[in-house]
Symmetry: C2
Subunit: 269 residues, 2 copies
Amino acid sequence: MPERRVITGFSNPTVKFMRALRDKKHRRREQRFLAEGLRLLTDARECGKVPELLAMATNREPHPLLTALEDAVFAAGGDVVEMDEAVLGKVTGKDNPQAVAGVFAEFDTSLARLDQTAAPIWLVAQALRDPGNLGTMLRTCDAVGAGGLILLDDCTDPFSVEAVRASMGAVFTQRIATARWDEFIGWLRSGPGQLVAASLRDPTDYREAPYAPPCFLLIGNESQGLPAAYEAACDLRVRIPMLGRADSLNAAVAGAVLAYEALARIGRP
Amino acid sequence: MPERRVITGFSNPTVKFMRALRDKKHRRREQRFLAEGLRLLTDARECGKVPELLAMATNREPHPLLTALEDAVFAAGGDVVEMDEAVLGKVTGKDNPQAVAGVFAEFDTSLARLDQTAAPIWLVAQALRDPGNLGTMLRTCDAVGAGGLILLDDCTDPFSVEAVRASMGAVFTQRIATARWDEFIGWLRSGPGQLVAASLRDPTDYREAPYAPPCFLLIGNESQGLPAAYEAACDLRVRIPMLGRADSLNAAVAGAVLAYEALARIGRP
């Protein structure tokens, strides 16, 4: 069995490498991302995703899930490092001696790789800015048995620490693709697929609309909503009741309300 | 017409006072909270809530909504202050010369003040930790015409800058109450009210459940869920389908899925 490597200094290259993965530019260059917490890393392991590099505090208390994780990392030829709490805190940004962090290879996010008939429901987000919303959408995808999340135009990074955390592990189970609108619409129209958006302009109530699988639920940017041209390209525009002062829901909430409606109406995978 | 007061130094007491309102301890002591952004402050004004104190940058560009806001503050006997961008940045934590910030008196959050028959749907959150989730729930309350949001046990502060921002103005339209569980259940049982929770233990599908107004939708803590005793005290436990690996939704998402189902089934206010 390989041994843990012990790291002592803040200036150690592994520490610098891990810490830099909190920054999008470095993630892109390294094609790696960071996930933190024993629960999240265990979720990943149970989905067959094992970190290339696992870091923990030197004096961390033993835990059967941590042992299982360590075994899996070694079995996959990965690296396990120990560092003292202060150094680990530099990596995780947290003052928690129970913290563990793993480095994963980013997944392929090309749209061409997706089979649009693989699931009855998909979420599609356009210019989504908030990593918490992105992670929450991944979590909803998991819950409704969706095919995955397609990110259009300039969305926040699905591999940021915040998005990974908010996904509660769904980043490891869901397909994620990134694409420009033109690329997406070309891909969608090359096969079956109903494109649905929530709209204020259309009178069709979301509870009465004729959803059909595979159903792609399109959610717009948090402050601007969807561009009019995108809305016009949809097969179905549905109205979610807004009885108060505001004219929109939180983006992740809107996605979930539509996804659960579609699930109830067109059935399970 | 009163004049704007010009503030130049970082150590000015008004600057210190506003800045301290980012901290919960100071909010409690002062019974005041901060809301930022012209859109949010305009929403507040349109709901009849005018800040006692309005702050903006000295060289801020004129805007009709800002003029309307300033007029409303002066008409209510409030104070308008100008400060240079760097000083305003200390207050708002942002480097945005277009920023405006207002100080509001906190609202009464006693449960006794609420009439449970005032609306067909209410959201109730227990030990909610995330200010974004709290604000998003307020936004959902507004959208479904709910009576308001009742916060049980130790929830995150509804008057934090983050919660106020995520509410997109709903903090000014929705009733908000805070209570311990015993107090809440006593209040609820003193009148009509159906208490509903999402549960993994109950086989009643949330789409088939007999919702009845006034319907109180109870959402548990983000990581622990609801205490078993609270779930047992509910009149109705409903199951939201979870088809993937995870056994729960984001708290604000779960609240919205239930709230929209209840709205569709028991109708509008």
